[in-house]
Symmetry: C2
Subunit: 401 residues, 2 copies
């Protein structure tokens, strides 16, 4: 029986994890949940799973949840809140395995503490590896506990890596859908609308990750994650555009053999893989191999999508640079979604913020969070400047017409 | 330093193995060679590799080789001949690893003796698994030594299987090019000429295997090999047509994940894999991943290609049935190449021979060879009958014109 803590239990990955746990009641027990801000969903989950501890983002929600649980006769569940509550959920003595699925830097501290507490980790939080990958992987190595990726690309890489030893890997190939602007000329990038950028050809996802897919920044983050998670230099991690997204990723070995992984596109699969590793257990998920058809592949256009190049530069420099990459991107994408900057200015802002960020090694999660805040400040300032000049430009353009 | 014996050293796989050994002189030493009938090539190989023992098919060639080697000042090489010579090469005390690459049932005995002598085996001889798979795998299990496939499909499967445990495999998927008659209507099969059948769209190979690819019998043999080599029921081995032959094969695990292997099409790769397993070593072979394009897949048409169905029936029955399948096919293909029977009669003969073969378990290589001879006899008789009736039919046709 594996005892699971879930950080981000009311989000998409959290719910899929509970779905998996529900399918294998003899294998998995849910012992603690960090539920965030969705009180109704948290109440339902607490009622259903009766965890030892559940955490809410705010003190007020925690109090509400506690009284609702009491009324429902479940007063044995400890309700905690805030960052300390999340850490409590992540480090609970009863938990063997922590699913890290809180979005953003909010998940960093609790994930790091879980690693330090010797838990095995299922990683769905991108920032853990992008911003704090050096710290977290060093600690996991020290603890001798696995960091198992819960996203289709890195989970695929993890599976393919079983075909050889780490020093027998020539290259990791991350596949990319290529986003909606694969065939759009770069000259049209300045006029890409928010609506166009949100219309991803393959996936339905949150807004930020959809924009990050359109700029290929998301793939850049994945390059950094792969470098950290698998301890590979950036020069050995490549991106290949594969619009069907059938093959989730590949590993090329030194002898010239390449292993590729594919499966149905269902997050329950990487979750199940992470939860049961090194075993595999029967699931009802079946990829219709007989329907495999017309897989296409092509190299990414780094000139057109500078975010990918910036990610390589950031991970090679290390330290505060990847932190700044992530922070600047989050600010720039929000500004684009708000109509303050143009699509092509997202990468421009990130590049400028990176240019003003020192690479300096970060020795603690606190240092990571400080670097994150600093980069956000710089990015915000650049957004302000661009927004003002673009207003002027629009006025100029209107006048010209 | 791995010490290698090669059965079939002057054939295509044998020469590729020597090529690999030449590239890694610090890792591989060639200690014995079974060279067959090509005297010049055997002399060259003996001069170059100075094996402890070399075997020729005939006593006369062995005597010739001995005197040529003596004249060249290499009298220290022991020259042997015939089946006993091949067994000597295969079981030499100094050899750690035996590459089994003699085509046909001629390779059976020596391979079996090598396994019994506790050698690790690189298997390129198809008949070893099709005709004597049960015997050879049982002995290899007893010895605790690996049987490593040297052909692109099973080598791919072997690599993909590393992604999980044997009891975690849902299905093995063997890819098939589909042969030249993938799009030819079955009604045209009776008029397929030898020339058309020898014109394989993807591979340049020997005549028998080219015809076996056109009838899908070759893929049927590979299904049997996979069942034997990986101890899988036939119901868990499937064939998928993939005309580009880029993906060499795949393994689907019980959780729904599929691993696929691909690489350049160069036999040195599976040879190197087998010779170095469980390690992988650097080679100059590189598949141009960036050129990956338009991979197609479709199910095989078992109605159109009955040989594939016959292979499943033979392996499920076991014992003498797969032996008869192979023997009948060899006779029928030879008859087709000689213009004695029609293309569609190849499967007809095999089906009839299978129908007259008892499944009976075979307890020794001798019993396998006897079953082989018996099936050849039956097949030859059926060829004769069909050839006579077709001559009559041709005459009738000419008269009608």
């Amino acid at each position: 029986m594996k005892r699971i803590a879930i950080l981000g239990s009311t989000g998409s990955i959290g719910r899929s994890t509970l779905n998996v746990a529900e399918s294998y009641p003899e294998r998995f027990q849910v012992v603690s949940l960090a539920a965030g801000r969705n009180l109704d969903s948290a109440f339902e989950q607490a009622q259903r799973w009766k965890p030892r501890v559940i955490s809410m983002a705010s003190e007020a929600d925690a109090a509400d949840l506690q009284s609702r649980l009491k009324s429902a006769g479940n007063s044995g569940i400890e309700v905690v809140y805030g960052p300390a509550g999340t850490v409590k959920v992540a480090t609970l003595a009863e938990a063997d395995f922590v699913v890290s699925a809180i979005v953003g830097v909010a998940g960093l501290e609790a994930t790091y503490e879980a690693v330090k507490a010797g838990k095995a980790i299922g990683l769905a939080n991108k920032e853990c590896m992008v911003a704090a990958g050096e710290l977290i992987t060093a600690e996991a190595r020290k603890q001798g506990k696995p960091l198992l990726p819960i996203d289709s690309e890195h989970n695929a890489v993890h599976q393919c890596l079983r075909g050889g030893r780490m020093n027998e890997v020539r290259r990791i190939w991350l596949t990319a859908s290529g986003g909606p602007f694969r065939h759009t000329p770069k000259s049209e990038f300045p006029s890409i609308s928010v609506e166009q950028a949100l219309n991803h050809p393959t996936w339905r996802m949150g807004k930020r990750i959809t924009i990050d897919s359109a700029t290929l920044m998301n793939k850049g983050f994945e390059v950094i994650e792969a470098c950290r998670l698998f301890n590979m230099p950036a020069g050995q991690v490549s991106v290949i555009v594969h619009p069907q997204s059938t093959i989730h990723s590949m590993v090329e070995f030194v002898d010239g053999s390449i292993l590729a992984q594919f499966s149905v596109t269902d997050m329950r699969l990487p979750i199940l893989y992470a939860l049961t590793y090194p075993d595999r257990i029967e699931s009802d998920m079946r990829f219709p191999v007989m329907d495999l058809r017309h897989l296409e592949f092509s190299p990414p256009d780094v000139e057109k999508f500078p975010c990918l190049r910036l990610a390589y530069e950031a991970v090679e420099a290390g330290g505060a640079k990847p932190v700044a990459l992530n922070a600047a991107d989050e600010v720039a994408v929000a500004a684009f979604l708000d109509g303050c900057i143009r699509f092509d200015q997202i990468s421009q802002i990130i590049e400028e913020v990176l240019g003003e960020t020192k690479a300096g090694k970060l020795e603690s999660i606190r240092a990571v969070l400080e670097a994150d805040l600093q980069a956000r400040g710089i990015a915000q300032e650049k957004v302000g400047r661009l927004a003002r000049s673009s207003t002027t430009a629009s006025v100029a353009t209107s006048r010209d017409l």
